[in-house]
Amino acid sequence: MHGTTAITGIGESPYFKAGRSPHSAASMAATAVHAAIADAGLRVDDVDGIVTFHPDQHDSAQLWSWLGLGELRFSAKAWGGGGNSGASAVQIADAAVTAGYARNVIVFRSLHQGAEGRYGRYNQSARPARGEAFLVPFGAAMPVVKNALLIKKFMHQHGISQEALADIALASYFHAQRNPRAVMYGKPLTREAYHASRWIAEPLHLYDCCQESDGACAVIVSSAAQAPDLQQPPAWLLAGATGMEAGGGLWAFNDTAYPSGRLAPVGRQLWERAGVRPADVDVAQFYENFTGSTLIAISDIGFCPPGEVEAFVSGKNLHFDGGVLPFNTSGGNIAEAYIHGLQLMVEAVRQIRGTSTSQVPNARLSLFVAGPGTPPSSAVLLSAEAP
C-alpha cells in the first residue's frame, strides 16, 4: 500500500440502457478488458490476475480463458453486497500486487441487465431465506424499498429535506450533459422536473434512482516498478479500505449502523492510511444507487456531520467547476450508467490523468467510495504523485 501499486489502464464498452446492448456480458467484458490492457500499453501476457465482485453472470476465473488471457496467477472475488464491493475489488488487486502474487491484475465488472434481469425488479419465485425471509414477504424486496427506508430514517433523524436529494440528482445530470458517453447525455434535468417525477418509494422519486444498464468496464492494477514506464500517467493507489462496524452485518435493519454509519469505519481506515483529510480531496466519485445513499456516505466517510450534509451538497457545491467537492463528474450511476459502480473507479482515474469531460483543474487526490448499502463498504483514494 501507499504507492506500491497504481492503476495503469482503464477500459470500457459503450454503455446502454438495460436491454439495449447488442452484445453479451462476456463480449462487453472482452471489450473493456482488452481496452484496458491496450490503454496501459501492456501485452496480453503481462496480465496475470483477475478480481471481480458480485459475479452473477460468469465465473471470472473461467471467463479468463475466453478473454484470451495467459497464465493465471491470482483470482479473487470481493464479498459483500453488490456495488459496495467495487472499491474492495481494487483493494484486493492492490494487496495481491503488493504481496508479489501477481504483477498486473484486472478488476472488471460486466452486466447485461437485459439478459440477466433488471436490478430494480424482484421477479423471483423461490421462497426467501435467511435475512430475506424477514424482508421480502412484507414487500421490502426491491433494492429501492430497502434504501428508501434507510434514507427516510436518516432524513428524519437529521432534518434533511427533499431538496438535498434533488441536489444529488441535479449534479449527476449536470455532469452527464458534458459526457457524450453518458446514457443521459442530451437529457438535462431541472429541479422542477425532479420534483414532478413520480414516486418510486417515498422519499425517492424516479430521478433519485440509479439507472439499469448494460455495459462493462475494467481497470488494471500494476506494480509500482512497472507503472512509471507504461503508457499512461499512473494513478497511484494511496489507500484502500473495506469494512463495517461490529454488528454491521446483522440482518433486516438490525445492524448496529442503521440508518447511517456504514462507511464510518472505512473512512477512519482510509484517512489514517493515506495520511490526508477529507478536505484534501480534490474530486470524489460516490456509488449512488439512490441519491439519499450518497448523503449518508458523504457524512459517514467524514466530509461533514450528518446534520450539515444538506448545506454541504447545496447549490453548485458538487459541480466540477469550482464546487467544494466535485462529485460524480461523469454523471455517475444516476446519469452516466450503472456498471455496478465500477465505472466510477474509471472516472476517478481519468480525473488523475486530466482527461475527464468535467475535469477538475489540477486534481491530485481522487476518491472513489462504494456503499453504504449492504455492508461491508469500501473506498479507494488515488494520487497523481508517487507517494
Partner: protein
C-alpha cells in the same frame, strides 16, 4: 414453541396471496407460526436477537428459547411504495412497509406492514399492535401466522 396456534388477533395478509412467503426453518418457525409476536432469546446470555439465527451474535451459543412479546410497538420507520417492481405487486401499489420496534424490546426492529390504514396516518412514532395473517403454507400445509400491524 411448537404447540397449537394461539388465538391472537387476526388480519388478512396485507400483500397478495401469490407474493412470496418465507422459507420456514427451525430457527424462524416460531416467529412465523406461533400466532403471537415471538422473539429468539439466547439461553446462555439472554440476548434477544431478531431476525433469529443459528447462533447468538453476542455469545455464539446455539441454544435458544423463544419468548412471547407483548405485541405492542412503535413505528420506527415507514415508506410508501408506489412502483410495483414485480408483476405480483402491480395491483397492490401503493403499499406501505414499516419497521416496528416492540415496546418491550426497543432494540429489536421488525419489518412489516400496517394493515387497514391511510398512508398519511402511518408516521414515525405511531403506536401499533401486532396482528396475524393466517396463511396455509402451499408447500407443506402448515398454518403460518405472518405478523402484521395495526394502528392503535
Amino acid at each position: 414453541m411448537s404447540g397449537p396456534v394461539s388465538d391472537g388477533p387476526v388480519a388478512d395478509r396485507y400483500l397478495p396471496a401469490d407474493w412470496p412467503l418465507p422459507e420456514i426453518t427451525a430457527v424462524n418457525r416460531p416467529f412465523f407460526t406461533a400466532g403471537a409476536l415471538t422473539l429468539q432469546r439466547c439461553r446462555s446470555c439472554a440476548q434477544v436477537q431478531h431476525p433469529p439465527h443459528e447462533i447468538c451474535h453476542r455469545c455464539q451459543s446455539d441454544a435458544f428459547d423463544y419468548v412471547e412479546a407483548s405485541g405492542l410497538g412503535t413505528v420506527d420507520n415507514v415508506t410508501t411504495v408506489h412502483h410495483a417492481g414485480d408483476p405480483r405487486l402491480a395491483a397492490r401499489v401503493p403499499y406501505n412497509v414499516v419497521i416496528v420496534t416492540p415496546d418491550d424490546h426497543p432494540d429489536v426492529r421488525i419489518v412489516g406492514n400496517v394493515v387497514a390504514a391511510d398512508h398519511a396516518a402511518i408516521a414515525i412514532g405511531a403506536p401499533v399492535r401486532c396482528v396475524f395473517a393466517r396463511v396455509t403454507d402451499p408447500d407443506t400445509g402448515e398454518l403460518l401466522t405472518l405478523p402484521q400491524w395495526e394502528l392503535r
